[in-house]
Symmetry: C2
Subunit: 126 residues, 2 copies
Amino acid sequence: MEFNDKVPIYYQIKTVIYDQIIAGERQPGEKLPAVRQLAVSLTVNVNTVQRALSEMIAEGAIVSKRGKGNFVTEDTQVIETIKTQLITEHLSNLYEQLHRLNIDDQDIINALVTYIERRGNSDDNH
Amino acid sequence: MEFNDKVPIYYQIKTVIYDQIIAGERQPGEKLPAVRQLAVSLTVNVNTVQRALSEMIAEGAIVSKRGKGNFVTEDTQVIETIKTQLITEHLSNLYEQLHRLNIDDQDIINALVTYIERRGNSDDNH
DNA sequence: TAACGTGTACTAGCTTACTATTACACTATA
DNA sequence: TATAGTGTAATAGTAAGCTAGTACACGTTA
């Protein structure tokens, strides 16, 4: 996996797994790949994976069962809360950043709409 | 100044100064505060400021005159280009991140509109 | 010319993040 | 019971970012 060298790798791993859980790619109660397996597929050290998981365990999104594996929580309420937090955080970031560039509310919306339209028309969607 | 400990300080300084230039708070040709002064006001080391400025000099946004000071470029075309890049980058980030959460185009726009409306109604604007 | 305000460069030491490696604890199963 | 698969912990080494401190180069001005 490619990482942004401006942000700690363990933090980016955490973000990716959260995204997968929220997007429904990893269902509540589902077992995650073994830490050693995750480390290999992410081309990263086991300790780095462990650090990401530890924080998610502390936050209640992952449940760890020694000898068995790590599992996505079955508490969908926790997942919903995290989803809401993440979305608000992303919207807030965009808003703050464009506001800092002296762009007003309406222009922020217009810019997003235009961006999405252009993206829809171009061939390289993604 | 407060810094996000997930991103290098020099990089955050760079971002802040770019934002100021683009927002028009620092005009083309304007002299920046002395590096030692910036270091004090940002409560950061001179070397850290220098690192941020070096990159902006390399990118053509800042012009350094030894013994005189650092100045915002007078080439407004360079500033315009950076502005466009930054805006697109921020929009792209939001789009990618919300898409990863399995939110479609229309819902992304709706979410932003709702976010801005709520923000406008609340008292703590900022 | 002397003093001061500038940018720039270099060294040394500290902390955090990451890696590699080893070891240990628990569970399932042949 | 032995083996394999799992999570967890601890050590040691490397690299990047930051700080403190010192020194030097250039420009302005008294």
